[in-house]
């Protein structure tokens, strides 16, 4: 759906030419969340901003749904792409409703349709429209503002969403909550999302695929499990952390490694939708090597064993 082909950005500085982004090629399938990950200065934000042409590429091509973005008027292009920034950037002179309505208005929607859409979006993000529509950004808490920012990006129902460290301005406790909400929302909306982050844990949690950058080059592009299980080089290995195996556990569900029920009946159970981190914790806490798995109704449907987990981790 979004394809980057040999994308390069070179800046001409007084110290010579600096390649901020070097020959990046990747493809993000429709409906997937791709996280651009890396240390600061690695080119991930520049890459993101080339997609909506806030930065002009020096060479290379970007296509969205087959169309070359270079061939379209930049302003028109941006109205079809949702954009969320770290500082949120709600316009203080406009109410929440007006903020959300910016792109719809630019696209010529009428007032009634725009307002209805704003109500829908606020409701979807767990903000009571009656209370929030006519508030000003200065009257919102950090978490509320962040959600309105996301609503604003989704207002015209763009197929693509670009997010530049969108949860960075929120405190760590609320960040977890907002990340979960976003994942739930993505399940329903299935937007194609490109998400910049410097936090490996956030990337592992949110991404369908991760593009890890260093000094402008794409070091590895893979789903989280593969990135953690088979890092392409020392840099990636160092970046994902020495506890990468433990990180992997979060992204693997019990249902993936569950075997037939074998009567390991006593003790705690895990549900088929739990992740392996919970399984590992229970293994360690109770000193067992196998746990029964139950479905939503509480019926035992299988067993998860330490051996099965090890096999799964080793296989990739």
């Amino acid at each position: 759906m979004i394809r980057l082909d040999a994308l390069t950005k070179v800046y001409h500085t007084s110290h010579g030419d600096v390649a901020s982004v070097s020959n990046v090629t990747l493809e993000v399938p429709e409906g997937a969340t791709c996280v651009l990950l890396g240390p600061s200065g690695c080119g991930k934000t520049t890459t993101l901003r080339m997609i909506n042409r806030l930065v002009t590429p020096t060479s290379g091509r970007i296509t969205i749904a087959g169309r070359d973005t270079g061939s379209v008027d930049a302003v028109a292009l941006r109205r079809t792409i949702g954009y969320v920034i770290q500082q949120i950037g709600l316009f203080p002179n406009m109410t929440v409703a007006q903020n959300i309505g910016v792109v719809p208005r630019l696209l010529g929607w009428d007032a009634a349709r725009t307002r209805k859409r704003a109500e829908e979006l606020l409701a979807m993000l767990a903000l009571d429209p009656g209370e929030f529509l006519d508030r000003y950004p200065s009257e919102l808490s950090g978490g509320q503002a962040q959600r309105v920012g996301v609503a604003r990006a989704l207002a015209a129902d763009p197929p693509v969403l670009l997010m530049d460290e969108p949860f960075g301005a929120v405190d760590p406790v609320n960040r977890e909550v907002i990340q979960d909400e976003f994942l739930r929302m993505q399940k329903a909306l299935r937007k194609t999302v490109l998400f910049v982050s410097h936090d490996i844990d956030e990337a592992v949690k949110m991404a369908d695929c991760i593009a890890i950058f260093r000094a402008g080059k794409l070091e590895q592009f893979a789903p989280p499990d593969e990135l953690l299980g088979r890092p392409a080089n020392d840099f990636v290995r160092g970046f994902v952390g020495s506890d990468r195996t433990l990180k992997r556990l979060r992204r693997i569900a019990v249902s993936e490694v569950m075997g037939a029920p074998n009567g390991a009946g006593a003790g705690p159970t895990v549900s088929t939708t739990d992740d392996l981190r919970r399984v590992a914790t229970l293994f360690l806490e109770h000193g067992v090597d196998a746990l029964p798995c139950v479905d939503e109704s509480g019926r035992i449907v299988g067993t998860v064993t330490r051996a099965a987990v090890a096999t799964r981790l080793g296989a990739r």
Binding site: G89, F91, N93, V102, S138, E139, L140, S141, Q144
Partner: protein, 251 residues
């Protein structure tokens, strides 16, 4: 950032300043009547009415010219392509605002001679400079990430100016307009000296003739007019700048 509205947070507008002002005003009126000055002043009733109208025309024309051209020039200076020249130009504008208005009027006079034109041009320039500066500073002070978000959403540069930059600079621009209009009304009496008419006629002639009644007949309406104009612009600033960007109205 969360603020729930509670009684303790509603600004308690103390009435004391107004009471004190009222007391002072009353004592001034009493003093005038008691000393007989009031009667002297009344002799110039007709002149006051006529000259006030002249004064208002002077203020109105030069003021509106200054507001329109000042804001336009301020916007122009704030544009990205003007960046190189903007700082230097603003320094010159700053220096210009420091120059006493009498000096500025005198300079205009050397070029344009005596007359209403000189007066209006002189007043226009004196009023213009603070407006240019505040417009420029106000627009440049709009946080860059707001402009970035607006660009990223697909707003054209004109729309960004209209819907993001100007509204967020509005409060500062209004402050500049208010200051400038105070300067304007304050300078208008002096415009009499270069042929502009207005209430200054009564004041300066009164000083020359040492006629206190005449002086006061000119001075007091001038002072009242200045306070009234400032009040009007203060109210305009309070009501016209939207709540979200108006610290005076923040809830």
């Amino acid at each position: 950032m969360l603020r729930t509205l509670s009684i303790s947070m509603v600004p308690q507008r103390s009435l004391v300043p107004y009471v004190v002002l009222g007391a002072i005003a009353l004592s001034i009126v009493w003093g005038l009547v008691a000393s007989g000055m009031w009667n002297d002043m009344l002799r110039y009733r007709k002149d006051v009415v006529y000259l006030t109208k002249q004064h208002l025309v002077l203020v109105g024309v030069s003021g509106s010219l200054a507001i329109v051209s000042g804001v336009a020039l301020g916007i122009w200076l704030s544009r990205p392509w003007m960046r190189r020249y903007a700082e230097a130009t603003i320094q010159v504008v700053n220096m210009g605002t420091a120059i006493p208005t009498l000096g500025k009027l005198a300079l205009i006079m050397t070029v344009l001679g005596i007359g209403a034109l000189s007066a209006i041009v002189g007043l226009w320039i004196a009023t213009l400079l603070p407006i240019i500066r505040n417009t420029y500073v106000g627009i440049r002070a709009v946080p860059h990430h707001l402009v970035d978000a607006a660009q990223g959403m697909g707003m054209s540069p004109t729309t960004i100016l209209r819907r993001v930059e100007l509204p967020n600079a509005m409060f500062v621009i209004f402050a500049g307009v208010r200051t400038a209009m105070a300067i304007n009304v304050g300078t208008a009496p002096i415009a009499f000296l270069i042929g502009g008419g207005g209430l200054g006629e009564l004041i300066f002639t009164g000083i020359d003739l040492q006629e206190f009644g005449m002086m006061l007949a000119g001075a007091i309406p001038t002072a009242l007019l200045a306070v009234a104009v400032d009040f009007v612009f203060g109210q305009a600033q309070y009501w016209l700048v939207p709540r979200g960007v108006n610290p005076l109205r923040a809830s």
